[in-house]
Subunit: 151 residues, 3 copies
Amino acid sequence: MVDLSAERLRALEDHEEIRNLIASYGPLADSGDAAAVAALWTEDGVYAVDGFPEACGRAAIAALIEGPVHRDLMARGCAHVLGVPVVALQGDRATAQCHSVVLAKGNKGWEPVRVAANRWELVRTAQGWRVTRRDNALLDGREEARALLAR
Amino acid sequence: MVDLSAERLRALEDHEEIRNLIASYGPLADSGDAAAVAALWTEDGVYAVDGFPEACGRAAIAALIEGPVHRDLMARGCAHVLGVPVVALQGDRATAQCHSVVLAKGNKGWEPVRVAANRWELVRTAQGWRVTRRDNALLDGREEARALLAR
Amino acid sequence: MVDLSAERLRALEDHEEIRNLIASYGPLADSGDAAAVAALWTEDGVYAVDGFPEACGRAAIAALIEGPVHRDLMARGCAHVLGVPVVALQGDRATAQCHSVVLAKGNKGWEPVRVAANRWELVRTAQGWRVTRRDNALLDGREEARALLAR
């Protein structure tokens, strides 16, 4: 007999862990913790962020947080706010979709400097859920960004 | 003996499913999937969105997504960002409350063009949780909008 | 034998309850329910909100919601939008971290008038989870705010 309760319990824990993983991105990025941001991904994970070369692997992802664009945002004051993710579990794999809004402080207060669509691919590892790929595209009218949010 | 664990497990699953349902609205709306947006509601569900005639039934809800106001927002680039919902379960019924922020791209970048209060009424159906009514009111100082967020 | 399922079920319920508690802040604040906002904290809970004297105890926290700054925001139209919290449970204690964005209506539409980092300390009480301390600091480039989001 399959213990359905155990499967249901694990599915709930998976949802909770994945939501927590994605929610961690903003606070870790805004506190400048490049190593912790990179560790959200697998060793060979990919972060394809609109306007930057595709970052492949943890060193490249950490470099985005250590780089001049992100450091300038932090010096101005910034918030990388991610929306509530829509998560679809498939066993040891999962996908998630959400908006992201980067607010940065300027002379006249905070402004949304990036508003983007995000699609995440995740995998269960021995150390817990990790991101294998995150695609990010600015919602500026292009079909490419809308496609990341499609079911 | 009532199996309390089973009830607790189901309540957690209900919370997860309702959160996912509400979180789906933004990505589905911003990808222009009118049929999928409408299917978040029951067949005779109501979406009372501030500034528009009350949409009753899935065809009317889909028409909002297919309509000129929404299509113009999509062409400019837009994000319908919903806040974390506060969910109250009552058996096969539930209510939820959250903010919604619509960011749209203009000549000078993205701007919050709508900031609203939302109250959702939901029902458990044979196909899962569905929205029976969503009330939306702009937070522009009117008591009507604040009332949607009251306990 | 320890019933691991019971512990896992309770941990999931704790996460759900804490997320709901934090998500309640915005709707309760924006509907002007000072008593309900204060009741999210323990009797002697602290709300250290950037730019205001530290509020110690429920009466002081309620006074922030009843005070002229918050009442003016409500009259203009405002949304206190909190991000998805990153929650860390340690038995009967927990911490959570999230962004908060206050949008207020002005002559030219809504603007983000406060963008802040938040760190919450929570405790399990006989009445459920309550906040013992919330630290809030504006993300305006100061290290103090970034530190609230650090792991």
